[in-house]
């Protein structure tokens, strides 16, 4: 599988992007800003198509527009945190703009350009990355990850306890904006891997799973990144092994499955915990009786 250069590029870029998405995703879930990332993914779509319509490289539009809109959304919200109305408004309007640019692009430039550009932007083209493009993508993703780790603790403080953090001298507002830039960068990056429509899966599902697996914030942060990376690896391998499966779908399927499994395990554990509570303290002999009952049940079976 690794003998093909396109697979090498896919793994290189995919791993780095997953790392960034997992780290950023944890804070998105913690700060209840997943919807913000969703809006920014639509911005990424519009940005890419706007650049294409203008005859530029899609990536320029992707990053410039996404980061610009992220900052704008932060400015409209309180303390660098856009509220639902801001997100909803930006969301719909930007997507409408995207449709406009798509029409512009297909009517004026589709003859010279690639007709399937919108499909590529929406659903990703991880197997179509060139070597230099994969390296640039990986470097940007690693920078995003490094910056996020550097601000992790103050960002955690500001996310859980804005007022105390502010009184302690943590630059809450600046962190809010900085985080939005990281989210925008990640959205733009992920667009190239899983596509604008599917970004949320890579941002929310690994983080959601990690949060259910541990209650230690820094462990959850690392775990979220690990699950995202594993999803990309397994997804790429599955996409390679099974020709009909697009890698975007396989990657998100793994991430979503992991999340579902953690929910199921959590509920099972909770039910067992409740059962134990009901039997244990009231009557210390009851567990033994229960054990006896189950052993007789086994005998009968």
């Amino acid at each position: 599988m690794f003998s093909h250069p396109f697979m090498q590029h896919a793994f290189l870029a995919g791993t780095a992007v997953a790392l960034a998405a997992g780290l950023v995703g944890y804070f998105l879930v913690l700060r209840a800003q997943v919807f913000t990332a969703d809006a920014l993914s639509h911005v990424a779509f519009t940005g890419a198509l706007a650049a294409l319509a203008a005859g530029l490289d899609a990536r320029i539009g992707l990053f410039a527009v996404t980061i610009f809109v992220a900052l704008g959304m932060g400015a409209l919200g309180r303390r660098g945190r856009p509220d639902d109305v801001v997100i909803g408004g930006v969301f719909a309007w930007i997507l409408g703009l995207g449709v406009f640019f798509l029409t512009l692009y297909t009517t004026t430039r589709s003859g010279s350009g690639n007709g399937s550009a919108s499909v590529t932007v929406l659903f990703g083209s991880i197997l179509g990355l060139s070597g230099s493009r994969a390296v640039v993508t990986a470097v940007i993703a690693l920078v995003i990850g490094a910056v996020l780790l550097a601000i992790a603790r103050p960002l955690l403080f500001a996310s859980l306890d804005e007022n105390v953090a502010a009184a302690r001298g943590v630059p809450v507002r600046l962190l809010g904006f900085g985080f939005l830039v990281l989210v925008a960068g990640t959205a733009a990056e992920s667009t190239q891997v899983v596509g604008a429509l599917l970004i949320l899966g890579l941002l929310a599902a690994p983080a959601g799973a990690a949060i259910r697996m541990t209650t230690r914030p820094l462990w959850a942060l690392g775990l979220s990144a690990a699950i995202a990376v594993a999803s990309v690896w397994i997804g790429l391998a599955a996409g390679y092994a099974i020709p009909k499966v697009p890698p975007s779908f396989a990657i998100l399927a793994v991430a979503a499955l992991t999340y579902l499994v953690t929910i199921a395990v959590g509920q099972l554990r909770h039910r067992r915990h409740v059962e134990r509570r009901e039997t244990d303290p009231a009557n210390p002999q009851q567990p033994r009786i229960a054990a006896l009952a189950s052993s007789t049940a086994l005998d009968e079976g």
Binding site: R153, P154, D161, A165, R168, T215
Partner: protein, 278 residues
């Protein structure tokens, strides 16, 4: 009391202060002091600007007139030596972060980068254990804070505020939205900590009764200023009538509780507060 309170250095010194939010004057000509070792309550009806007073002292709200000194320095410059607990924040029930980690934020939550394993990291972990023990939260501090009760969360937040051994605890309505037994327990805890940890306390409250027995002094806040003194001096019909400019009656129940009748606040809340909870 040997030496007397007036000889000690003032931790908080507010003089002739006026606070303006937007275009509304919250209060004016207010004086307030807290000296080392004191347990002081800021009292007054809803909306009179008790929280604003704490924020002014911390430099989070600018002052329109007058002067504020916190530990002898201008507001905002000594906040690292203060333990601040803002008004009631209850964590979302779905928040899956341990109580221990929330307490830990008080120690290293403002540091950049990741914690490195080593002596400092061990010292931090040790201190977190100490704090959790101090507030009596050892049994549940490892559980996700969103799943804890209001009283349990409040204990952990007090531990967080105490993390860096502050000289002064500034607590904004720490008893709000707790049931009566929890109010009494948290009030006793704060008083015990104030003595054992040698920390002064400035506590905002709308009901003085749960903390009455622990108080050295109260500062009653009104729009036109503040009156300060022992509870017996300040919480009287004469003083409060003069402060608010409307007839106010202070009643004392047989078990020593004080009921303030006629405070200038919204009528609906008024009956609720003094009929129901007081």
């Amino acid at each position: 009391m040997p030496g007397g309170l007036s000889d000690r250095p003032a931790l908080v010194d507010v003089r002739g202060a006026t606070a303006v939010l937007g275009r509304r004057t919250i209060w004016s000509h207010a004086d307030a002091t807290v000296t080392a070792g004191e347990f002081v309550a800021i009292l007054g009806p809803n909306g009179v600007g008790k929280s604003t007073l704490l924020k002014v002292i911390l430099g989070l709200v600018p002052l329109a007139a007058g002067t504020v000194r916190l530990l002898g320095r201008p507001p905002g410059q000594a906040n690292h030596e203060i333990g601040y607990l803002p008004q009631r924040r209850s964590f979302d029930a779905s928040l899956r972060v341990r109580g221990l980690d929330v307490v830990r934020l008080g120690l290293d939550g403002d540091r950049w980068g990741l914690p490195v394993r080593g002596r400092r990291s061990r010292a931090v972990t040790e201190r977190v254990g100490e704090l959790v023990e101090l507030v009596g939260a050892s049994d549940y501090a490892h559980r996700p804070i969103g799943q804890l009760s209001g009283g349990e969360q409040q204990r952990l937040l007090i531990a967080q505020a105490l993390a860096r051994r502050p000289k002064l605890l500034m607590l904004d309505e720490p008893l709000d939205s707790l049931d009566l037994p929890n109010q009494a327990a948290i009030a006793a805890l704060i008083s015990r900590i104030a003595r054992t940890e040698n920390v002064s306390v400035m506590i905002v409250a709308h009901d003085v009764n749960p903390i009455l027995t622990y108080l050295d002094r109260v500062i009653y806040l009104g729009q036109g200023g503040a009156v300060s003194g022992t509870p017996a001096e300040v919480i009287t019909s004469e003083t409060l009538t003069a402060l608010y400019g409307t007839p106010i009656e202070v009643l004392s129940t047989s078990d020593g509780r004080l009921v303030v009748v006629g405070q200038p606040e919204a009528p609906a809340r008024h009956t609720d507060r003094h009929g129901g909870s007081a």
